[in-house]
């Protein structure tokens, strides 16, 4: 097989990673943008999504498709409700003080992680994809003086991976429409820009915060549900995902959804491609190095605004 097919394969893997990352990181970015809260527990919401997906799928028993669809709907709702409760019970009482909320979300991280370990256990468990047809991909080569199509051995993807990419794109578009077109989005953006004045115009800021924290966590959970047929559910899976999300959000510009998506594609694709051709460790090194450069040369991130 030539270089081309390999590159295509690596890009597809990268695109799947990028989609999941974009979903998760946009949740982190939304929470930071509106609430100015750095949510260290975000990775645990992702893990909870994956674990709940396994749980729902195994409760649904026989029907794989039904179980998966239920998980896709229920897991983000449950996780969103847990997060909104955590916001009301913990973060609201800290008056959203930046330093104290970091410490509080670290605490939340360990509580969720250890509770999962105690109930779900240390095993990694798979969820069967609802559909997983192997799709062979054709490639072209020059032979006998003309272009010829052929099917290289091993060059394939699955229908599920394509579904993940499309689902992520659809959800991200939905979030964008919600933020720019809906009444709820208007309230969130007004709160983001001036919390005090938002209150002076009757916006129940605390309720907006609880909803935003819930939506942010719900996005992470959705990412977790989507990934679990590809990567198994494990109680420690949140840490790596959290790290990558932070990398994406810092590069994209904290609080900028567009920047987050661009950075997720950048990091996801390079991670996919570099992991295939070199090693996953090198991919991590390069991503971290990129963050260092962004912080030095463009601290507000690619699309972020300078703090006024």
């Amino acid at each position: 097989m030539d270089f081309g097919p390999y590159l295509l394969l690596a890009s597809l893997e990268g695109a799947v990673l990028a989609s999941v990352l974009a979903l998760m990181a946009s949740g982190l970015s939304l929470v930071f943008g509106v609430m100015r809260v750095v949510n260290v527990a975000h990775g645990e919401f992702y893990m909870l999504g994956a674990v709940l997906a396994w749980w729902v799928a195994s409760l649904a028993g026989g029907s794989v498709v039904l179980g998966f669809v239920l998980a896709l709907v229920l897991a983000p709702l449950i996780v969103g409700a847990i997060a909104a409760t955590a916001d009301i019970v913990v973060l609201r009482r800290l008056s959203y003080d930046p330093e104290r909320t970091i410490v509080a979300t670290i605490g939340l991280l360990y509580i969720i992680q250890q509770l999962t370990l105690m109930s779900y256990g240390p095993e990694a468990r798979p969820v069967v994809a609802p559909f997983n047809t192997r799709l062979a991909i054709p490639w072209f080569e020059f032979a006998d003086g003309g272009l010829r199509m052929y099917w290289p051995w091993g060059l394939s993807t699955t229908s599920y991976k394509l579904f993940v990419i499309f689902a992520a794109v659809a959800v991200l578009l939905g979030i964008r429409v919600m933020m720019t077109r809906s009444r709820a989005g208007l309230l969130m953006r007004a709160t983001q820009q001036d919390r005090e004045i938002a209150q002076a115009f009757g916006i129940p800021v605390e309720r907006v915060y609880a909803v935003v924290f819930g939506i942010g966590a719900g996005l992470a959970a959705l990412a977790g549900v989507l990934i679990v047929p590809i990567q198994q559910a494990h109680y420690l899976m949140g840490l790596d995902a959290l790290l990558l999300s932070f990398i994406v959000v810092i590069i994209g510009g904290l609080g900028s959804l567009a920047g987050t998506v661009i950075a997720a594609v950048l990091i996801g694709m390079s991670e996919g491609i570099i992991s295939v051709f070199f090693s996953p460790t090198l991919a991590k090194i390069i991503a971290t190095l990129l963050v260092a450069f962004v912080l030095v040369f463009r601290p507000q991130g690619l699309m972020g605004k300078r703090v006024r």
């Binding site: 007004a190 820009q193 001036d194 005090e196 004045i197 002076a200 115009f201 009757g202």
Partner: protein, 231 residues
């Protein structure tokens, strides 16, 4: 009528207001005057419910405001035009007004009426607030507050840094609101502006109300103005 009775308030542990009492009757313009740091803006913030009251009571037409959550205060009919305008900078003019309209679910004709007071905004509806000129931003801040059909209007230095034509327009609108029976509490630094518009003046110093005077009396003898503003 707004009645503030002996309130203590401040930021964190720092107490700013000490026993502040004042009244702003409907259909009258009450000016709040004093040097920088006297507690004028803090008084407005306390009325809006941003700062917890440590003592005292705030009532509007007899209803207690002091114990409402902050977002419920404006829903009682209080429009706030803060110092420095503080628009929702990245939202459009239309969206800024929409937020004012949502506060008390004003019917659509309110927006029409507000835009007829500030026709310039109508041409700028889809522009982001941060791209407006200073005068237009002040119009928008006023318009946003008027969209909630206020019974009480709090204006914190609404003419600061504006050109004379714009000051005249803002003043016209304030007088019109007064004539419609809105209670107006105005923080203003310019003596000539106060003299020409105020029905009554309250002087503040170091977080206390130290004196009060009717507008008529000050026009006859502006002595107290100079005493409390030190000019």
């Amino acid at each position: 009528m707004l009645r503030v009775e002996g309130i203590d308030a401040g930021y964190g542990r720092a107490q700013i207001l000490r026993g502040v009492s004042l009244e702003a009757p409907a259909g009258r313009i009450t000016c709040l005057m004093g040097r920088n740091g006297a507690g004028k803006t803090t008084t407005m913030k306390a009325i809006m419910g941003f700062l917890p009251l440590r003592a005292g009571r705030i009532t509007l037409d007899g209803e207690d405001l002091g114990h409402l959550p902050p977002h419920e205060v404006p829903r009682r009919g209080i429009g706030y035009v803060p110092q420095g305008r503080r628009l929702f900078a990245e939202l459009t003019v239309a969206q800024n007004l929409e937020i004012g309209m949502m506060t008390r679910r004003s019917p659509p004709e309110v927006l029409e009426r507000v835009l007829s007071l500030f026709p310039r905004l109508r041409e700028r509806m889809d522009q982001r607030a941060e791209t407006l000129s200073g005068g237009e931003q002040q119009m928008l801040a006023m318009a946003r507050a008027l969209c909630l059909r206020p019974r009480l209007l709090l204006l914190d230095e609404p003419t600061e840094g504006l050109q004379p034509s714009m000051i005249a327009l803002i003043r016209q609108v304030v007088e019109r609101m007064r004539d419609e029976g809105v209670a107006i509490l105005l923080v203003e630094q310019r003596i000539d502006a106060v003299l020409s518009i105020a029905d009554q003046v309250v002087f503040m110093e170091n977080g206390r109300v130290v004196d009060g005077a009717a507008g008529e009396a000050l026009r006859a003898d502006p002595g107290p103005l100079h005493r409390y503003l030190g000019v």
